[in-house]
């Protein structure tokens, strides 16, 4: 299997790559991983991972700054209908728009907006940072063999507010429910970082590699 990790100058792609290697080894899957920003590599891949760190706006600008990259991801997802895994801001970009810095259009694959988390309890900190329990709202292929309320590592101040709750397969609690994972056909994403979530994260990546549409 050939998996590309989309490289557009964001965050620590090596840790995603290392975690993916561990995930493949656990299920004895032969895997070729490419960290790439080349549209051809994206379109040739069986599956892609879209990481994202920093602000929504900077991530959109970063992707659009590389010639053909934005369109190739759109084509991969909407026309080829192959599996994508968005991580953190990578998942947030599935939305229509983000409100970080200024309003920025996203891919618009999953109806909704990304807005700053509003907290009433002033003892709660932002970013929402650390290990939180993830409740699985809808049974799905990605969370097979992962216990309900397992811990995953989060770090974010903005959250995905989906219009259609059917797209929300997992939530976490930070004063109120926060979208933890989204799924719509071939489009999957998590707000938390699987690559930083030990066994649970590796298991989720294994499930993504095993995922058949």
């Amino acid at each position: 299997m050939y998996v590309s990790i989309v490289d557009y100058g964001t965050g620590n792609l090596n840790s995603v790559s290392k975690a993916l290697e561990a995930a493949a080894a656990n299920i004895n899957k032969k895997l070729s991983i490419k960290i790439s920003n080349n549209p051809k590599d994206i379109l040739d891949s069986d599956k892609i991972i879209l990481p994202g760190q920093g602000s929504y706006r900077q991530c959109v600008l970063g992707l659009k700054n590389i010639s053909g990259l934005w369109d190739s991801i759109n084509e991969f997802v909407l026309i080829k209908k192959k599996p994508i895994f968005g991580i953190c801001v990578g998942m947030q970009l599935f939305s229509d728009q983000g409100f970080e810095e200024e309003i920025t259009q996203g891919f618009g694959w999953i109806k909704g907006s990304v807005k700053k988390i509003q907290l009433n309890n002033k003892d709660l900190k932002l970013p929402h940072m650390g290990w939180n329990e993830v409740s699985i709202a809808k049974k799905n292929d990605l969370f097979v063999d992962i216990k309900n309320l397992s811990h995953f590592y989060f770090v974010h101040s903005y959250a995905f507010e989906a219009e259609n709750i059917d797209n929300i397969i997992c939530a976490t609690d930070y004063e109120k429910p926060i979208t933890a994972a989204l799924l719509k056909e071939n489009i999957f994403g998590t707000q938390f970082h699987p690559e930083k979530s030990q066994e649970n994260g590796i298991k989720l990546l294994s499930n993504f590699l095993n995922w058949n549409l």
């Binding site: 965050g11 620590n12 090596n14 840790s15 290392k18 561990a22 002033k122 970013p127 940072m129 650390g130």
Partner: protein, 252 residues
């Protein structure tokens, strides 16, 4: 519910783990990669490397240790020590660090906090503050591993750090560091109440009760400790079980 974090900190010098008693009398406590693996398996929530002499010595050793650690540990890794430029941050992130901790360079140039958090995202910018008590309810920022006074008030500085986009503050009491008499709880609580970003309490842990106090009285989001874990006095699991028994939400 979001869990309180336990972060073992490895002070690294020449690629080896050491822990200073008030930053001088250094003892060797092993290889950072091996230690990190043990902590990862033992249930640490994050790991922190502080390269305590990075300003003067070869940094490549550290980068290779970071990269080796990142291959083996799937929990967040924070690396600090001598981080002074965008290039330094980039190199550490590329080697496999998830967050970098910036100390002296942030004090010298507050704009560096802003620049780095815009460039890499607030989530990976930890500002380390070394605080020394200079009066009643008054602490001063020190730099260069606690050697240089700056005249800057810790409370004022913490506000500046937050305003410039830092994701977290690693707050070390220079008075308590290495003394095993517990965190400076007054300091920790004051800063934690003041800013809305998470505070990591650091400096002075000698027993498990001190960790508990860091959360219950210091209101920290995370606690950092070194020697009580390195020398096997307590395991991470023992620490977490103790905290859970006292009603602190931890990941078990």
């Amino acid at each position: 519910m979001l869990k309180k974090r336990i972060i073992p900190c490895l002070d690294v010098k020449d690629g080896r783990v050491v822990k200073g008693i008030n930053f001088t009398d250094l003892k060797d406590a092993g290889d950072p990669v091996e230690q990190a693996k043990i902590y990862d398996k033992g249930g640490a929530d994050e790991i922190c490397f502080l390269d305590i002499t990075a300003s003067n010595e070869n940094r490549k050793t550290l980068l290779s240790k970071v990269s080796e650690t990142a291959k083996n540990c799937f929990i967040p890794l924070t690396v600090g020590g001598g981080v002074a430029s965008i290039e330094d941050i980039k190199n550490l992130l590329l080697a496999g660090a998830d967050k970098v901790s910036i100390n002296t360079a942030a004090v010298k140039n507050h704009n560096f906090i802003k620049e780095s958090s815009i460039r890499f995202g607030s989530q990976c910018i930890v500002i380390a503050i070394d605080a020394k008590k200079v009066g009643i309810n008054k602490w001063e920022v020190f730099t260069h591993g606690g050697r240089n006074s700056t005249g800057i008030d810790v409370i004022e500085y913490a506000k500046i750090v937050e305003k410039n986009g830092a994701g977290e503050i690693l707050l070390t009491s220079m008075d308590r560091d290495g003394t095993k008499t517990g965190y400076d709880l007054e300091l920790t609580r004051k800063v934690s109440n003041l800013v809305s970003i998470p505070i990591i309490a650091s400096g002075g842990v000698g027993n498990l009760d001190h960790l508990y106090q860091g959360f219950s009285e210091g209101l920290a989001s995370a606690v950092l400790a070194a020697s009580i874990f390195h020398y096997g006095e307590y395991s991470i699991l023992e620490a977490k079980q103790f905290l859970a028994s006292k009603g602190i939400p931890v990941r078990l």
